[in-house]
């Protein structure tokens, strides 16, 4: 189980943000992406998850092996916690809804509608979804937004348990998750140079 990224370049809204990025993540590992706002963390994660095409470079692992979680949790406000989670479990052909709820401390809220959850509870539900995807590589964009300290610790433990089963996690975050073993990758050196405009883009017009 390995994700190997080679010489990747990606753009948002036609503006190249990242170029020449190479790294690898293997099972049991967590990699934290760091970089100032606008450095392309979200763009990179969306590219890895297959939501947008890369300008160039190679990604060794198909998006079908990744579980992606971003700012929006994909929750339906009129469905209960169990229904929301059960839906994603069914989509991924997995079970384990009650285990996932237990892991993210949601069992007591099982029958509550998502619209009646607090922001932090919604976030926990969104992260519980990762557990029912059955995928080894978690691609997480700011997973700890609106979580309190206890919930961050809870989530850190969930990530560690996932790593222990041979999974891996790629996180864009500024907060310490309590994962001292996680490697850190700073994206700043890979900022796309203006001169490094990739082929087939607007430079045809310059």
């Amino acid at each position: 189980m390995e994700l190997r990224v080679t010489n990747l370049a990606c753009a948002r809204g036609g503006v190249p943000l990242i170029a020449g990025l190479s790294f690898a993540v293997t099972g049991g590992e967590a990699l934290v992406l760091r970089g100032p706002n606008g450095s392309g963390k979200t763009t990179l994660l969306r590219t890895l998850a297959g939501l947008q095409p890369a300008l160039s470079g190679e990604i060794s692992c198909p998006p079908e092996q990744m579980a992606y979680a971003a700012h929006a949790d994909g929750l339906k406000s009129t469905l209960t916690v169990t229904e929301n989670l059960g839906f994603w479990a069914a989509i991924h052909g997995q079970g384990g809804v009650s285990e996932a709820m237990a892991a993210m401390n949601l069992t007591e809220l099982a029958e509550r509608q998502a619209q009646n959850l607090s922001a932090g509870q919604k976030r926990r539900l969104g992260l519980a979804r990762l557990l029912v995807t059955g995928r080894w590589l978690w691609v997480l964009d700011e997973p700890t937004v609106s979580l309190d300290a206890d919930s961050v610790a809870l989530f850190g433990a969930v990530v560690r348990a996932h790593l222990a089963t041979g999974g891996a996690a790629l996180l864009a975050t500024h907060i310490d998750l309590g994962l001292p073993e996680a490697r850190v990758l700073d994206l700043a050196p890979y900022k796309a140079a203006v001169t490094a405009l990739p082929a087939g883009f607007d430079e045809a017009f310059l």
């Binding site: 998850a49 939501l51 947008q52 994909g74 989509i91």
Partner: protein
């Protein structure tokens, strides 16, 4: 995929899901037309097939613009795009859910509303049959339109502008079938053409719509 269908049906019937709004719109339209046109039963009988079809078409269109927009706003669409279900199937299933919650009630309500419009007796069977054959095409074509405008803030009006011209053949064949039946003519030709449009739309448009959705996600 069944899970997606169940979820969409469940969302439609829960509070704020909009189930029944299309039907209510259909009813109001059918009531308003005689108020505007006048109560002459002969006139109403002649225009009834067209009114019923235009009404069904608009009722179906009105509930379509949020088909993908809601999933886009809450992030579900991103997550569905990364799920094991192909985007084409997502489109087809969501269009099916829309048809079940909007199209089928319209088909069932149409004969009752046709009484209000004095539709001639022999046309009732054809009315139900033509709407039953045609409304899946309306849902599918509308899903394509909704996929085109999913990323736009004010997509609703633009979507009507894009989708209504695409509705023309469906409307013409559907209303013609009913009108012919009302005049005791054989409605077979327009019905077959209508079935052809539905088959073609359901078979091909999921691919076009999925392409549009992927473009809009990137």
């Amino acid at each position: 995929m069944i899970a997606l269908l169940v979820r969409d049906l469940r969302l439609a019937v829960r509070a704020g899901g909009g189930f029944g709004l299309g039907l209510g719109f259909f009813l109001i339209l059918v009531v308003l037309v005689p108020l505007g046109v006048g109560p002459d039963p002969a006139v109403l009988g002649v225009i009834a097939p067209g009114i019923l079809w235009v009404g069904a078409l608009l009722a179906s269109l009105l509930s379509l613009d949020r088909l993908f927009a809601l999933d886009h706003e809450d992030g579900s669409l991103d997550l569905l795009a990364t799920s094991p279900i192909p985007m084409e199937a997502v489109v087809a299933v969501k269009a099916l859910a829309h048809w079940l919650t909007t199209g089928v009630p319209l088909v069932l309500a149409a004969p009752v509303l046709a009484i209000l419009l004095n539709l001639p007796g022999p046309a009732y069977g054809t009315l139900v049959l033509s709407l039953g054959l045609g409304t899946p095409a309306l849902s599918m074509i509308g899903a394509f339109g909704a996929a085109l405008v999913v990323g736009l803030k004010r997509g609703g009006l633009l979507m009507s502008l894009l989708v209504l011209p695409l509705y023309v053949p469906t409307l013409v064949f559907g209303a013609q079938a009913v009108a012919r039946a009302a005049q005791d003519l054989a409605p077979d030709t327009p019905l077959l053409l209508l079935a052809g449009i539905t088959a073609g739309s359901v078979g091909l448009l999921p691919f076009a719509a999925a392409f549009a959705l992927r473009i809009n996600l990137r």
